[in-house]
Symmetry: C2
Amino acid sequence: MFRLDDLDERIVSALQRDGSLSSAALAEVVNASPASCWRRVKALEEAGILGPTVRIVKPESLGRGLDVFCQIRMKSQDAAARMDFQRVLEAEPTILEVYSISGEWDYLLHLAVRGMADYEEILMHRILAHHSVAQASSVFALRRVKHTNVVPV
Amino acid sequence: MFRLDDLDERIVSALQRDGSLSSAALAEVVNASPASCWRRVKALEEAGILGPTVRIVKPESLGRGLDVFCQIRMKSQDAAARMDFQRVLEAEPTILEVYSISGEWDYLLHLAVRGMADYEEILMHRILAHHSVAQASSVFALRRVKHTNVVPV
DNA sequence: CAGAAGGTGAAATGAATGTTTCGTCTTGAT
DNA sequence: ATCAAGACGAAACATTCATTTCACCTTCTG
């Protein structure tokens, strides 16, 4: 496992917040030389710690203003059924996150949809339509209070 | 509201997946000229559709491998109490997402923590310690099945 | 049909960028 | 205390980049 010193931590922290920083700009932020920053960024990338650079888009600005959380119970836990179901989830682009969870339910899904009608359509035809889904329970977000990608270092 | 044509959509889609694309590289991906891409990206930024560029870091690679979902019920719904509570949530960096939700609970939190002991500490001292929290219910992710930031365009 | 308005691609610009090299310094092991 | 190994910052490099200009083309309006 990769050991991060303070400088690495400052670099990871800075790049999580602004991935467009050049080596020179980053160097200024974290108080080091551009060359050093460049080498460390390369190393952190190869260690798999620094992942891809992406553009953040707020769902609402693309008309996907409704966040839904949907819990799923399966009819059976057999591996093949789960795999097949997961492939369906993977293929549905409004489903942003899927977790297999502890407790009374098997999966927790997070979707960003256009509205209720849109969600109803997806729930019925993409999710409940699957043969190994037994039950679903939906919760709707009234407001997005906090939302960040920044993992504390 | 901003109307996106096909080219805009291809640009937003490409940049959501790779925010490090230069105008020239982007142009190749979406089949347009670098100049055109540059102008459109600028416009999309000013319209607030293209948000910040960030580096993705997998929580597990920083030792934060446990995803927890925590539902909260408040003692009262008065605005001052909610505001105060939300400030606390904002200040806790292991809390990545907070939604105010419909149904039997008031909030849904998503945290990325180091492990159970870490979570217990945060739940007790940061969350339940707050005077207007009545009850909490925690669900633990067994596995991250899907996780994307890409909002379908 | 005429003409304005706006979007387009190609080319040109100077500035900024990634990347390497090198001599020095730090550090940890013996 | 000595040594080797590795990390460091400064400088130099060619390359790539963002940004502007310009002439052309499309597409609506009257």
